[in-house]
């Protein structure tokens, strides 16, 4: 009976339903990819084509004028430099501190179940809404006279990068067999020596992935940059773009070109950490 049903399925119904399946998948793919295509296309269109209705779906009249405009715009360069410095600086700072913190959390047993509590506390920062920290953060930076400086951004980004580094690296250290260091300790190495010479080289891919995630998050970060910076001396790229968009709705070519430039490095980074993508984005919650 059942076998008969199976044969019947494979003739007509299956072909029909597989067509439906692919049609549905195509629809989803278009929905998710089209906006990106549209952004890139807009950045390459001439102004007349940008504003035409019905829209120009595809055109051969492409121009690189908008890219030329932002590349020769010294303000854009400053903003990109600020962004790069803030995300590189905070990644470095939180990696140095976070890797060591994660190692001790992974290897040493602290009293009063502190390992457990500290781990949960670190994990809870993923749930912490950044907006609740902007008032104190702003007041602290003002008291320290750090408003509108790149140092303020580096420090602020390290605040949310550090727990992320600790949590990610703790996962990588936990996966490493303890015997490796034990043999180094037996041979008379210190804990620090074993950490630097044996453990660190083995988790190097994990460190690289974690660093890249830190940079993705800080590069994309918007809220802290919005409240902590005002002028070209510290403004980051996202805030610069946002200011343009919300004030002059007209310069779409430049805006979309700037958007493409801002997202390209992130796509390259994402390709580099493809293997750890889910793990990083879910704060280590999913080890896919």
């Amino acid at each position: 009976m059942r076998e008969l049903k199976g044969q019947y399925d494979s003739s007509f119904v299956t072909r029909y339903s597989s067509f439906l399946k692919y049609a549905l998948l195509m629809l989803f793919a278009v929905f998710f990819l089209f906006p990106m295509y549209w952004l890139v296309l807009t950045s390459l269109k001439t102004q007349a084509d940008q504003f035409s209705m019905p829209p120009v779906w595809w055109t051969k009249r492409l121009t690189l004028d908008y890219y030329r405009a932002i590349i020769f715009d010294s303000s854009f360069e400053t903003l990109a430099f600020n962004s790069a410095l803030a995300c590189g600086g905070s990644a470095l700072l939180s990696l140095v501190a976070g890797t060591m913190g994660a190692y001790s959390l992974s290897r040493f047993r602290l009293p009063f179940r502190l390992n457990h509590h500290l781990s949960l506390w670190i994990l809870s920062t993923r749930m912490f809404p950044p907006i609740v920290s902007i008032v104190p953060l702003f007041l602290i930076m003002r008291a320290l006279d750090l408003l509108d400086t790149r140092l303020a951004l580096v420090l602020a980004y390290s605040v949310f990068n550090l727990p992320f580094v600790v949590w990610m690296m703790k996962g990588f250290f936990d996966e490493l067999p303890r015997e490796l260091e034990e043999s180094a300790l037996m041979d008379g190495d210190t804990h620090l020596g074993a950490f630097l010479r044996i453990v660190l080289p083995l988790v190097a891919p994990g460190i690289a992935a974690t660093a890249i995630f830190c940079m993705i998050v800080s590069w994309n970060e918007f809220l802290f940059a919005l409240i902590l910076t005002q002028t070209d001396s510290a403004l980051t790229l996202p805030v610069g773009i946002a200011n343009q968009v919300t004030q002059y709705e007209i310069r779409w070519g430049v805006m979309s070109a700037a958007g493409v430039v801002a997202m390209t490095p992130m796509f390259i980074f994402a390709l580099m950490v493809q293997r750890y993508l889910v793990r990083g984005l879910s704060f280590g919650a999913v080890k896919g």
């Binding site: 952004l39 609740v132 902007i134």
Partner: protein, 182 residues
């Protein structure tokens, strides 16, 4: 997912633009009169429009979490089900879905926490407008502190938001198996 939220906002402003936006362009292909639909400027359409942007940006992330969950399900229950003669729907509802619940809960937890603090995209798309149609808690706190300079009230709002976040987080974690997050 790794797209800067600001860039996502710019992209969708481009799409939603009532005069030359591509969304109204597509609707026109179907012969609809699009002059009434101003999307982000319409109090009743702005919120669904903003929600769609978030769905667009974060569905791939949920997809990846669920995919990781699916790949972790062992083959044996499926073999048993096939021997017992279960059809595809029964297999899905009685095996796949129950075994996928931890992954679904993780996705739900992360997305809830992200949405409680949503700020960037809405700031770019509508700044909370028109009126208060798309104003979220985060935007309200931001405006209280940095438009009206009422730091005290903003701090109170922050603490309430933090309390709500913590309660929700604990609720979710109670449903999760003790080690599902580690």
């Amino acid at each position: 997912m790794i797209l800067p939220p600001v860039v996502a906002g710019v992209t969708w402003r481009l799409i939603y633009n009532p005069n030359f936006g591509v969304l109204n362009g597509i609707l026109r292909l179907f012969g609809l009169d699009t002059r009434r639909w101003t999307w982000l400027a319409d109090p009743s359409l702005a919120l669904p429009a903003v929600i769609l942007v978030d769905v667009w940006e974060w569905t791939p992330f949920v997809f990846l979490i669920l995919l990781a969950g699916l790949q972790a399900i062992p083959q044996e229950p499926y073999e048993a089900a096939r021997i017992d003669g279960a059809n595809a729907w029964q297999t899905f509802f009685h095996i796949t879905l129950p075994l996928l619940i931890p992954a679904i809960l993780v996705a739900l937890l992360l997305r809830t926490m992200d949405l409680l603090r949503i700020f960037d995209q809405i700031f770019i798309l509508t700044q909370g407008g028109p009126g208060f149609a798309t104003e979220t808690v985060s935007l309200y706190i931001y405006k209280t502190a940095f438009r009206f300079y009422d730091f005290g009230y903003a701090a109170v709002l922050s603490i309430v938001l933090l309390a709500v976040t913590m309660v929700l987080c604990r609720l979710y974690l109670r449903f999760l198996k003790p080690n599902a997050l580690e």
